[in-house]
């Protein structure tokens, strides 16, 4: 099938090469002829670990960890090709263990013109919001599930866009034996009808996944092929928008951990999700509401593996992702179904509402330099009864408000309050940890190139490890130097300091940062997806450069 697909892709490529396309030729003439250009990037993230008795910090045998990425892309008009090399010598503490040693992990060749593209090799792709299928890279998570295979896309004017793909998703340092085949199409009704003030489209996708089964699961009636689909629509007019997505992710098989020779060895569940996004953005006002319900939506590359990087779709927590230290102590991760003996929950339902408002300069509240406010409310529940929209126990709730004011040309302040409720049992019972967090973020610009930023934070809770206090001071010398020191102190229970300090130097597209600090066990979250990390203490060097 792969060969057939490549033949089709190759044939299409040949047709595309023959097609006269005056606009493309114009672009070609404008750009430098024949030689093309090279673009690339290099990143190293290296840590030297040491013992820390107070936090029981993890120290690997090597006392050292280093994640390295080298990416090169060559572009010549419609043609491009690239590679990515990765080396883990060894992988940093807390990253997925399947990342090891060094390998040429990604490589591709691609042809793109105004209406047609074909890629052979590794590629990234996303259907709709990614609930059905997403392949992407997130280095903070140690995730790269690029697909090795072929992809073809074609669009007819700005009305119809279709794409098809086939390949093997990457897991760890190599490509898995699992196969994915998919197609996606979108039709812009408004562009076809020539409407000027309204945008309206309909979209759909289908994804088939194949993973060979062992004999036991075949006997139990599991299927090696599963097929899912999604239907979507997108409407926008004068700042108002409405998006809807329905996903049927196909049958999922979950091993029955209490199987004792009788009954079903596997639970068979149909993954499904509903997503609505609506809002209004205009004249300094931004209002956005997202509602989502989903059941059994976890989709793995390899069914029997439990690594955090083992995913074929994107099921993020849809709530505020904070950056202040104390606001991220209890982050929420979306629930995709629990099937233990004591607790069964098919997924989650909930949503979030965001309101942003910019009080413009010269208005009564805006003053001379303007003022910005933002409020968010996020609320998620377990599903009380499988197959229904009935809400069960609260999983997570967050209400936050932040207020930003530029007082003078030199001084700006941000004040944030967040009320978070977190369910440590993931919804098995009603017990919630409630935290109140306040943050003051104060920036003072002494001159065009010298500034300081101070963060003061406090978290109050009767749960977990009780109260925390934190502070951070950053000194900046534009455009190259930045130095910071910070400390997070748990004075409610452990009396431990989590100190940190560092310096960063930037020149053009190169950034070198050296940090030393103590990190608590917890979660690193990126893009709404989290991975667990153990406590560690050490010296970290990060170098990123690109050209």
């Amino acid at each position: 099938m792969f060969v057939a697909f490549l033949l089709v892709a190759g044939g299409a490529l040949a047709v595309a090469a023959e097609r006269p396309d005056s606009e493309d030729e114009a672009v070609e003439n404008k750009s430098e002829k024949s030689r093309g250009y090279l673009s690339g990037s290099f990143e190293t993230n290296t840590t030297l670990y040491h013992k820390d008795v107070k936090t029981s910090a993890t120290v690997p045998d090597s006392k050292f960890g280093s994640n390295n990425y080298l990416k090169l892309d060559y572009y010549n008009n419609r043609f491009s090709a690239g590679i990515q090399l990765e080396a883990y010598s060894p992988v940093l503490v807390g990253y997925p263990a399947e990342l090891e040693k060094a390998a040429l992990t990604n490589y591709y060749v691609s042809w793109t013109d105004k209406s047609f593209s074909v890629t052979a090799g590794t590629f990234y792709e996303q259907f709709g919001s990614g609930l059905l299928f997403r392949s992407w890279e997130d280095r903070a998570l140690g995730l790269n599930n690029a697909v090795m295979g072929a992809r073809v896309s074609y669009n007819y004017k700005d009305i119809v866009a279709v794409k098809a793909l086939w390949g093997l998703p990457r897991f760890g340092m190599s490509f898995s034996d699992t196969q994915v085949r998919g197609a996606d199409a979108s039709v812009s009704i408004s562009n076809a009808a020539g409407w000027n003030n309204v945008y309206f489209d309909v979209q759909g996708s289908v994804l088939s996944r194949y993973e060979a089964l062992d004999a036991d699961s075949e006997i139990d009636g599991c299927k090696a092929n599963t097929t899912g689909w999604s239907a979507r629509t997108n409407f926008e007019t004068s700042g108002f928008y409405l998006k809807g997505e329905y996903v049927d992710a196909g049958l999922k098989y979950y091993y029955n951990t209490s199987y004792a020779g009788t009954g079903d060895m596997y639970y068979k569940k149909r993954g499904n999700a509903q997503l609505i996004e609506t809002g209004y953005n205009n004249g300094g006002l931004g209002v956005g509401l997202t509602l989502r319900r989903m059941e059994w939506m976890g989709s793995k590359i390899i069914n029997s593996n439990s690594s955090t990087s083992n995913m074929l779709n994107y099921i993020p927590a849809i709530c505020t992702q904070y950056t202040y230290m104390l606001t991220t102590l209890h982050p929420y991760s979306a629930r995709t179904g629990d099937l233990t003996e004591s607790f069964r929950n098919s997924g989650e339902l909930g949503g979030q509402l965001d309101v942003y408002y910019n009080f413009r300069r010269g208005t009564k509240l805006g003053g001379k330099r303007g003022m910005k406010i933002h409020a968010n409310f996020s609320n998620y529940y377990t599903i009380y009864k499988e197959g229904t929209f009935a809400a069960g126990n609260v999983l997570f709730r967050d209400f936050s408000i932040d207020w930003e004011k530029q007082w003078t040309k030199q001084f700006k302040s941000i004040l944030l309050y967040s009320l978070q409720q977190y369910n440590p049992s993931y919804g098995a019972d009603k017990n919630l940890w409630t935290s109140h967090i306040v943050v003051a973020d104060l920036l003072y610009k002494y001159s065009k190139s010298f500034s300081t930023r101070l963060e003061l934070q406090y978290l109050h809770t009767k749960a977990d490890r009780k109260d925390w206090v934190a502070a951070m001071l950053e000194v900046n010398f534009a455009p190259s130097w930045s130095i910071y020191v910070s400390d997070m102190f748990n004075h409610g229970s452990t009396m431990l300091n989590y100190y940190n300090g560092g310096v960063a130097y930037t020149r053009s597209r190169t950034r070198v940062a050296l940090n030393y600090g103590r990190y608590k066990a917890g979660y690193i979250c990126s893009g709404g997806v989290c991975r667990q990390i153990p406590a560690y203490t050490g010296l970290n060097l990060t170098v990123t450069t690109s050209f």
């Binding site: 990614g130 006002l285 209002v287 965001d354 010298f450």
Partner: protein, 152 residues
């Protein structure tokens, strides 16, 4: 190595599909249609220095536009879960003078080899990169208008 450097000196914005503010997919090559130089800034809802940089550009925009004819393209690299939030966010920051693009699976980000944000580029009217910088500390925005004014 020298030949590699000579090749790389022509780096420009690749043609990649991204979403515009309406949620419609467009090609980045259409940004070159008006032949204006541009500042391209990659940002996300969770990148504080990116937001500070775009606010600083927004603050200076009325003065800068009197000195040179150019446009500002703000590329949100937020994943699909935050595309709607990023749109509301941009409206709430008053970034109405910017061309807003949404690179929800980071296709443009990867194609331009952006590994950390903030990352800002200055492109001439033909799409060639004439200036680029990683990271933002208050005051760095002055380098952008200098680069724009150097474009003949």
């Amino acid at each position: 190595m020298l030949s590699l450097l000579s090749i790389s000196s022509f780096a420009q914005m690749p043609s990649v599909k991204v979403d515009n503010v309406k949620g419609e997919q467009i090609s980045t090559s259409s940004l070159l249609d008006d032949g204006k130089p541009m500042i391209v800034s990659f940002w996300s809802c969770t990148c504080k220095p990116c937001i500070m940089e775009l606010d600083a550009i927004n603050e200076n925009f009325p003065d800068w536009i009197e000195e040179a004819d150019f446009k500002v393209v703000a590329v949100s690299t937020d994943d699909a879960r935050f595309t709607a939030k990023a749109r509301s966010f941009a409206a709430g920051r008053g970034w109405s003078d910017f061309v807003q693009l949404y690179d929800k699976n980071q296709e443009l980000m990867r194609a331009m080899n952006v590994t950390v944000t903030p990352q800002v580029f200055v492109l001439d009217g033909q799409g060639k990169i004439v200036y680029s910088h990683t990271g933002y500390v208050p005051g760095s925005e002055e380098e952008l208008i200098k680069a724009i004014k150097k474009i003949k």
